[in-house]
């Protein structure tokens, strides 16, 4: 019940499994000398995300399906040699409340014996769980949140950031569009930490690529009425208008932008957009909008094949977050296989610096310095009409990992 009791049971279980370790060594873990060094003889994966609020469609309950696919693939790959014979998933809904995320994360680690927690969208919740991962010395791979703090001030040995972050989005979208001729920008951003970060990163990248930002306009958050901002953003006739809004605000902004006189005169670039946003507003409303996507299901055959498997189970197409959950779970299990144990320090050791190519990560690397997982990302343009449901994006350009992620975050002091 209490953490010491937990540690006690853990120790007993570990000794017991050591004594019982009779199976041959796994193919993936030659140096470990034996398999089955698992606490409680099983791996428990905790999925902690928003199953009822704004991020429900982006990751939500369907992420569980993605993780189940990873478990199935792991078992198929290693068969009898699998170190992890029993793998369980426990889920919880943090409802976008950081305090719920915090209690649930502790409960998962302590009581449900979770070896790792995945996903956790919403930056306040994501950072709270990072603190718990460091406290409990257990793994945590964040996918759903975009804050660079996870690989900056709040980085720690047990926390990894798998899919995307705000700095990457800025480099991808701002840098690429500016280089391709969109040299004069006006930016409208929501006035909270995320929007401020995005505005700063975008301005930096536009300038670095040889462009200029005429105005950066802060809009209150949340906001329904963007008429005034859109008017302001049109002053000076910029070639590109950057909207740094997300979720409902983004939809409001785009709807009202489309009704304004700027439609057709200036190109719209969006800081953070998910395929679920396009799905909800309709592809024609977003047509021509450019943004950076971490992954797109219809990019190539490999992605498509996985997306088909996903669709069989969920009847919908995967977002990048679903694919990232799959990739994170799979690579965690591979690392366990390699280490021959679920001991967090050993698994972290196997993950750090690992180069990965899988359905989600292309030219991926788990960067040792700040635990950001860098990989190729994509500049996408929204199609003007959808050939089939969810087929909304044209990939304009692949942005190489090094360009998208830059140097490791200097604010990170791994301790």
């Amino acid at each position: 019940m209490r953490s010491r009791t937990v540690q006690g049971t853990v120790a007993i279980a570990a000794t017991a499994s050591l004594a019982l370790a009779a199976c041959g060594s796994g193919a993936g873990g030659p140096q470990s000398g034996g398999s089955g060094k698992l606490t409680d003889d099983k791996i428990v994966i905790g999925l902690l995300n928003d199953q009822s609020g704004v991020y429900k469609d982006l990751s939500g309950p369907n992420s569980k399906t993605a993780i189940e696919l990873a478990i199935a693939d792991y078992k198929a790959k290693y068969g009898d040699k699998a170190v992890a014979k029993t793998i369980e998933i426990v889920t919880a809904d943090h409802q976008n409340k950081a305090d719920v995320a915090n209690s649930k994360a502790q409960e998962m680690y302590d009581r449900q014996k979770a070896d790792i927690i995945l996903d956790v969208p919403n930056s306040a919740a994501a950072l709270a769980v990072a603190t718990q991962a460091a406290n409990k010395k257990k793994l945590y791979i964040n996918i759903g949140a975009g804050t660079t703090k996870l690989t900056g001030e709040s980085c720690n040995k047990y926390t990894f950031h798998w899919a995307y972050n705000t700095a990457m989005l800025a480099r991808g979208t701002a840098g690429t569009i500016t280089k391709e001729g969109g040299t004069s920008w006006n930016i409208v951003y929501p006035d909270y930490a995320f929007g401020q970060d995005m505005n700063k990163s975008f301005t930096k990248e536009v300038t670095a690529a040889g462009g200029s930002v005429g105005q950066s306009i802060a809009s209150p958050f949340p906001s329904d009425n963007f008429a005034t901002f859109i008017t302001k953003a049109g002053e000076g006739s910029p070639k590109v208008i950057g909207s740094m809004h997300a979720g409902g605000d983004l939809i409001n902004f785009v709807k009202q932008f489309n009704q304004s006189s700027l439609k057709g005169k200036a190109q719209l670039a969006v800081g953070l957009m998910f395929i679920t946003d396009i799905h909800s507003l309709g592809v024609d409303q977003f047509a021509g909008t450019q943004f950076t996507d971490a992954w797109y299901w219809n990019f190539d055959d490999q992605n498509k094949k996985w997306a088909d498997r996903f669709k069989e189970k969920t009847n919908t197409r995967p977002s990048f977050a679903h694919a990232a959950n799959y990739s994170a779970a799979m690579n965690y299990l591979e690392a366990v296989q390699e280490a021959g144990t679920d001991d967090a320090d050993a698994v972290v050791g196997k993950l750090e610096g690992k180069k990965i190519n899988d359905v989600f990560l292309r030219n991926g690397e788990v960067r040792k310095a700040d635990h950001a997982v860098t990989h190729d990302v994509y500049l996408a343009k929204v199609k003007s009409s959808a050939p089939e449901e969810w087929d909304y994006e044209d990939i304009v350009k692949t942005i190489p990992a090094a360009e998208a992620y830059g140097e490791a975050n200097p604010a990170c002091k791994m301790g």
């Binding site: 719920v100 709270a128 603190t131």
Partner: protein, 339 residues
């Protein structure tokens, strides 16, 4: 139902307790309550048990206004959240033991409560609820803007839990619970003292008949402001312990939904019962905790339905309904004994 329809205000505080001061049952109940308090973290995951107590005191602070002064504050998140941030900042920057930081947070809550209370008590009833709600929303926007201080939507993370270097309390949430619970108990004791003091009786008089209270020479507005500030201090105490328990403060704490939730807890427990807040918190917090892991996606459907049912059918709340049943039973027995 029809019986309740006739009553204009459904708070039944005015009825005297059926148990006399010396009645052993009173002490038995108090003892039972303390036993539950001590055993709680054995039954329930300690951080969740701590949440129950924090929300319990928070609800008591709302009840102090609603049940005993007749003012429904729909903006109490301002004091809970304001204190959470202030506590967090004190603990982070000055590294003082957390009880000191929590007291600092509670004082801060009282400081902001004064001007808000001064303005809000100019209106009563439903107007008061809306005005407090709007002020709380204002504070929410300010906290969101002051991101250098509050961390914006990322929240104030990694608040230290320093406690005179005693590692058991600092690191193990099981032991932390007992220190936190002691602080909450102090808050509950203050609330109980206030209600059972001459000051508390004036408040009740103000609630029941402000005109008469004024005629008797009481400055009604000043009493209301005082009650408001005391209530904010208790909400701040609860919010401060909550922030230390979770080791962060987020904008969630200042949102109007938090104000709504605490009113739900209060009404569920029973308006004007004081202790009901703890019972209501026990039900709501454990229910939410259970639902979060259950895979059920419509948490709002459940809490919303509870709200509607309570307001329509059980306006005395859990504690109030229980007390009424007990009262009827005791009075019946006495009557029978007399006959």
């Amino acid at each position: 139902m029809s019986e309740q329809m006739t009553a204009k205000v459904d708070v039944d505080l005015a009825q005297p307790s059926i148990l006399s001061r010396r009645n052993p049952l009173r002490y038995l109940m108090l003892l039972g309550g303390l036993a539950v308090l001590v055993l709680l973290p054995y039954w329930i995951y300690p951080p969740v048990a701590m949440d129950i107590l924090c929300w319990g005191l928070f609800a008591i602070s709302v009840d102090l206004l609603l049940g005993f002064t007749g003012l429904l504050s729909f903006g109490h998140a301002a004091f809970w959240g304001g204190s959470a941030y202030c506590t967090g900042l004190i603990a982070t920057h000055w590294g003082v033991p957390f009880p000191v930081a929590v007291v600092g947070g509670a004082v801060f809550a009282m400081l902001i409560a004064w001007p808000i209370g001064y303005l809000s008590v100019r209106r009563t009833g439903i107007y008061f609820a809306m005005v407090t709600l709007a002020f709380a929303q204002m504070l929410y926007f300010i906290a969101n803007q002051a991101r250098d201080l509050t961390g914006g939507e990322n929240g104030l993370q990694g608040i230290p839990r320093s406690f005179f270097g005693i590692e058991l309390v600092e690191e193990d949430s099981f032991y932390f619970y007992y220190v936190g619970a002691a602080m909450i108990l102090v808050g509950i004791f203050i609330a109980w003292r206030v209600v059972n003091s001459p000051f508390g009786r004036v408040l009740t008089a103000v609630r029941d008949n402000p005109a008469r209270a004024r005629a008797l020479g009481y400055d009604v507005e000043r009493f209301k402001i005082k009650a408001f500030v005391i209530s904010a201090g208790l909400a701040g105490l609860a919010g401060g312990v909550f922030a230390i328990s979770h080791q962060f403060a987020s904008l969630q704490e200042l949102m109007w939904t938090t104000s709504g939730k605490v009113v739900l807890v209060t009404v569920l427990g029973g308006i004007g019962t004081l202790w009901g807040g703890l019972v209501g918190a026990g039900v709501v917090v454990t229910l939410e905790d259970f639902l979060a892991s259950s895979g059920f996606e419509g948490i709002g459907l459940i809490t919303g339905s509870i709200f509607v049912l309570i307001v329509l059918l059980f306006r005395h709340g859990i504690w109030g309904t229980g007390r009424n049943v007990l009262r009827r039973y005791v009075l019946d027995r006495r009557k029978r004994a007399r006959d």
